[in-house]
């Protein structure tokens, strides 16, 4: 190892490298919108939360790297006089200050911005449209309660890959008018939808990136999530929990219709056993 | 208990005037940590038990009466273990008794499993019976480790303290009462 490192290239290379990395990362955040266009109400809140952290964390990220670069660049050479203590006060300020700052900004973010939105996602309101989503290897099935507003119960014994994918039973009167749609989720715009999610086999995750919605499908229990789609159009479900070999192909279309059109579709579509 | 150290163990390196107390303290540390780890293990099982209990297919079974006889053996063995630890002169005798009682308990467990099986209770016949087999087996493994350690201690009786062995042995006794209580009360 060389002892005379005064002219070491690393004194320049490292700060330049760290600063270039910082600049590139900041530029990537500022000049490109990486997120899929948002299409749900709470999604805007999620994006707001993310923007808040980006600003706060970005500040720490930049400040940290600037300091790192500065300390490296201005460090004394090996023949400089030995280290002199900095002084307790300055050290305390330097350590405690940033620590408290980070704690405050992160807790404020989660308490005042994050948690209210989290609350929206898990709110239960009987006024909401109820829709059920069934996950199975490797497809998504939408199950609507139909005119009676009641979901038919599951009869797993009646399950059939081709004829009865939602495992309903003709004799249950709640099931009669239920709608079952394979590979496509049709939703109203501007109206809150309560989604209850069921899995028939392993874990899956109901993920609509454009809505900032993600909720695991867990066999044995219902999981719930809620959103208000804002813009009519086509979106996608992409499974977000490994569920086997074809996990990557486990997608479905999400079609958001204007409210009247959606109501009309609900009216006209014949029930599963009709 | 535990491992024999290297051949060149020496007081200069490992004596009790080290800031950490040296080798004899190390044995204590290890026993303490093993108990702490085992406590975490049984805690995890207990927590799982309490969670699983809320769901379907619980099917509670009760422990065969022979388990309670075994409990008495274990309690008695803790007493003899204490005697072995305190009475250096008759340590071997008391150690032997402790081992004997431990083995009796283990035999009782085997009989308990046999009885359960004979009455149609298997690990897969219900969720509770799954826990019964699992928890009693995990406990039995800890007890077996204790018996092995005691046998080693018996062969080296008179040399070194029995504190570590005793702590572990009392722990397996306490763990049994814990396990049996969880399996019957909840």
């Amino acid at each position: 190892m060389s002892r005379r490192d005064r002219g070491s290239v690393w004194r320049f290379l490292l700060p330049v490298g760290f600063l270039a990395f910082t600049a590139a990362t900041v530029a990537a955040v500022l000049f490109k919108d990486w997120m899929p266009p948002v299409a749900s109400e709470h999604g805007k809140g999620v994006d707001g939360m993310i923007t808040y952290i980006l600003c706060a964390a970005g500040l720490i990220f930049v400040a940290g790297h600037l300091l790192l670069a500065k300390f490296i660049f201005t460090s004394g050479a090996d023949d400089a006089p030995a280290y002199k203590p900095i002084g307790n006060k300055a050290e305390m300020l330097f350590t405690i200050g940033p620590t408290i700052f980070i704690l405050l900004i992160s807790e404020i973010g989660v308490l005042f911005i994050g948690n209210p939105i989290w609350g929206q996602v898990f709110k239960e309101d009987p006024e909401d449209f109820q829709i059920e989503v069934i996950a199975k290897q490797f497809e998504w099935i939408a199950h609507y309660p139909g005119r009676d507003g009641k979901f038919g119960p599951f009869r797993m014994e009646k399950y059939d890959e081709v004829d009865n994918i939602a495992a309903l039973w003709k004799k249950d009167k709640e099931s009669r008018d239920d709608l079952v749609v394979r590979g496509k989720l049709i939703l109203p715009a501007g109206k809150a939808c309560q989604i209850r999610i069921k899995s028939f086999d392993v874990l899956h995750s109901f993920n609509i990136p454009a809505f900032r919605t993600k909720q695991d499908a867990v066999p044995g229990i219902y999981t719930k999530t809620r959103f208000v789609a804002t813009t009519p159009g086509d979106y996608e479900i992409a499974c977000a929990e490994i569920c086997g070999v074809n996990h990557y192909k486990m997608k479905a279309k999400v079609q958001v219709l204007p409210l009247e059109k959606y109501m009309k579709w609900l009216e006209e579509e014949p029930g599963f056993f009709e | 208990m535990l491992m024999k150290s290297d051949a060149w163990e020496s007081r200069a390196w490992e004596g009790d005037d080290l800031p950490g107390g040296g080798r004899s303290e190390a044995n204590r540390t290890v026993v303490f940590l093993m108990i702490a780890g085992a406590v975490m293990l049984f805690t995890t099982f207990t927590a799982s038990y309490l969670v699983r209990r809320e769901a379907a297919g619980w099917g509670k079974v009760s422990l065969p009466a022979i388990c309670w006889v075994g409990t008495a053996f274990l309690v008695a063995s803790s007493v003899t273990m204490e005697l072995a630890r305190r009475k250096t002169a008759s340590a071997r005798l008391w150690l032997g008794t402790t081992i004997g009682l431990g083995v009796l308990f283990a035999l009782g467990q085997v009989e308990a499993w046999r009885q359960l099986r004979a009455s149609g209770v298997t690990a897969s016949s219900g969720a509770h019976s799954g826990f019964v087999y699992m928890l009693t087996s995990v406990h039995a493994a800890h007890l077996a480790a204790g018996i092995v350690v005691l046998v080693v201690a018996l062969r080296r009786a008179g040399r070194g303290s029995l504190g570590g062995c005793a702590a572990w042995w009392h722990f397996t006794g306490a763990a049994w009462i814990w396990v049996a209580a969880v399996l019957t009360v909840f």
């Binding site: 190892m1 720490i60 790192l68 050290e91 405690i96 066999p219 044995g220 192909k249 | -």
Partner: protein
């Protein structure tokens, strides 16, 4: 221990010095030999683990061109994660360097239980072999993700690797846990009880604190994984239903289980899983502190504050596991709790980071290879930690969970940070291991390649995650993800650079072992105890027990203009 050192020169020990090849290099009780054995095993496993990543990265960049089927993909990802965490980072950083430096830095002749130590190593070897062998059984290796969540991992029919492959995976993991637990017992006992005279707790190098704390964490959290693995095994082979709910339908067939709760497994897994992250990261940070102090020629900033922060991180680390489960179906109120508690950890973590950074304040830096890695680690830990702020906020996690944002984040933490710490440690202690130094030019090349490669790969992955790019995907067929997935070739190219640099390291490591420049006793002019032993240190480390007379980082002391003092100096 050194491969090249002859017996005559170290007349150190009057006791039975191991002589034969077998007792000296294979079944040695010497903590230093065992440490190196772990390192070498980790190198072999690292080649396999990284090779897998090269394979699946090729598939991601140029779908269909890597000769990889979707079955191969899920298996490769699962095995890559498992091997990297448990058989590369754990083995090199925790077991390898830990074994090597603990007795040397605290002034002990060896571990408290040398035989146990040797057995720990020889327990893990079959574990590693079984893990590797599982590739070749019917259906291939485990394919349920390194988290192996049931029911996927519990039902042989759910995935091709969920048959024999998953059983062997569980077996290998069980062996790992046994070996790691034995190792942890040894660490704690050695550090607590065998410190040299004068080595009070608050005089221990921070490296030792981190090994101590991570060993304690491991001992308290691995039992949860043990319990989970036992129950999973029983569900797989004993017909029980701990994790398997009623009336599952697999390949059109109704299953017979009743009432199990899959979420239970996730709680148990992450009760271990989160502390495990700290087990892997903290020692790397500890090593960085040592290397930074030695090469910045000043004491670490805030020694006491750092020790406090480490304990705080460890304690809080045990009550935040639910941040991996925000959207798992766990009660949403718990989500809020875990979000708040996790963000509290940012405080001690920030404290640690500031102390690392502050150690460069008024420094006189020597830019040698270990120092470069320690400097890189500061950036990696900071950048990775900032990603953690996003993931710990439940609301933001709605978007980021199980995307490449997570992949980028945890690689920066447990991949880059841990490995930078490991490399810093290896370059730094190599003279003590083999009496030779590693080649500096190759070392610096290794550094540049690692730094550029990994930072580009894992930073870009954060942005891909923002684009909603889900992880564990064989190919990106969704429309919305096309812009993010378009970056895959770029990421893969830099992954190749990162991988290639590790080959430079391997060459350097094995070449320098035999042909590196001879090193003196204290080549870095460092102050901690290991530098008072010979290079390479013989079996038993010192002739006379060292006596400690001061703090670990005595840089800037010493009246004679030397500017530093050994810990043993008056």
């Amino acid at each position: 221990m050194a491969l090249t050192h002859s017996h005559g020169t170290d007349a150190a020990h009057g006791h039975d010095h191991p002589s034969g090849f077998w007792s000296k290099y294979i079944f040695s009780f010497d903590h230093k030999v065992i440490g190196v054995q772990y390192l070498i095993l980790a190198c072999i496993m690292g080649l396999i683990g990284a090779g897998l990543s090269v394979w699946f990265r090729t598939q991601l960049a140029w779908p269909g061109k890597a000769g990889m089927s979707p079955e191969n993909y899920v298996m490769a990802v699962t095995m890559h994660g498992t091997i990297m965490i448990f058989f590369v980072v754990s083995l090199s950083l925790s077991s390898g360097l830990g074994n090597f430096c603990i007795p040397l830095q605290i002034g002990a002749r060896d571990m408290a239980y040398p035989l146990l130590n040797m057995l720990s190593f020889w327990t893990i070897v079959p574990g590693a072999a079984i893990m590797v062998a599982s590739f070749f059984v019917e259906g291939g290796g485990a394919a349920g993700g390194w988290t192996s969540y049931p029911p996927l991992s519990a039902l042989p029919k759910a995935a091709p690797g969920s048959g024999t492959g998953q059983t062997l995976w569980l077996l290998a993991m069980a062996i790992f846990v046994v070996s790691f637990t034995l190792g942890g017992l040894n660490y704690v006992a050695t550090i607590l009880n065998l410190r040299a005279r004068g080595m009070t707790l608050m005089r221990m190098p921070i490296t030792i604190w981190t090994y101590f704390i991570s060993a304690v964490l491991g001992l308290l959290s691995f039992p949860a994984l043990t319990a989970a693995a036992i129950m999973l095994l029983l569900d797989r082979h004993g017909g029980t239903s701990f994790f398997l709910p009623s009336k599952l339908i697999l390949s059109g067939q109704l299953q017979t289980n009743t009432g199990g709760t899959p979420l239970l497994f996730q709680h148990l897994f992450w009760f271990l899983g989160h502390p495990e992250v700290y087990i892997l990261v903290l020692p790397a940070v500890g090593i960085a502190f040592d290397v930074l102090a030695a090469n910045a020629r000043r004491p670490v900033m805030g020694y006491k504050a750092s020790v406090f922060a480490l304990w705080a991180i460890a304690f809080l680390g045990m009550i935040v596991w639910g941040h991996h489960m925000f959207i798992s179906g766990m009660n949403p109120y718990l989500g809020k709790y875990f979000s708040i508690s996790t963000l509290i950890i940012t405080a001690p973590f920030a404290l640690l980071g500031v102390c690392l950074l502050g150690t460069l304040w008024r420094a006189r830096i020597r830019f040698n290879t270990p120092m470069l890695f320690a400097l890189g680690l500061i950036s990696a830990v900071g950048t990775g930690g900032i990603g953690g702020l996003f993931l710990a906020t439940a609301t933001a996690d709605l978007h980021f969970h199980d995307t490449y944002f997570v992949v980028g984040h945890f690689h920066l933490m447990i991949g880059v940070t841990s490995l930078m710490g490991t490399f810093a440690g290896i370059y730094y202690w190599f003279p003590k291991m083999f009496g030779r130094t590693m080649n500096e030019t190759l070392g610096k090349l290794h550094f540049v390649g690692t730094m550029v490669g990994t930072f580009v790969v894992f930073t870009v992955q954060h942005f891909q995650g923002m684009g909603g790019m889900t992880r564990r995907y064989y190919e990106y067929v969704n429309e919305y993800v096309k812009p993010a997935a378009a970056l895959n070739p770029l990421v893969t190219i830099f992954a190749f650079i990162a991988f290639g640099s590790q080959l430079i390291f391997l060459v350097n490591f094995f070449w320098s072992m035999f042909a590196g420049a001879k090193a003196s006793k204290n080549p870095w002019e460092a102050t901690t105890l290991e530098w008072t032993a010979e290079s390479p240190a013989g079996h038993g480390n010192w002739n006379e027990p060292p006596v400690v007379r001061g703090d670990p980082y005595r840089y800037g002391e010493g009246a004679d203009g030397k500017g530093w003092k050994l810990q043993t100096d008056a």
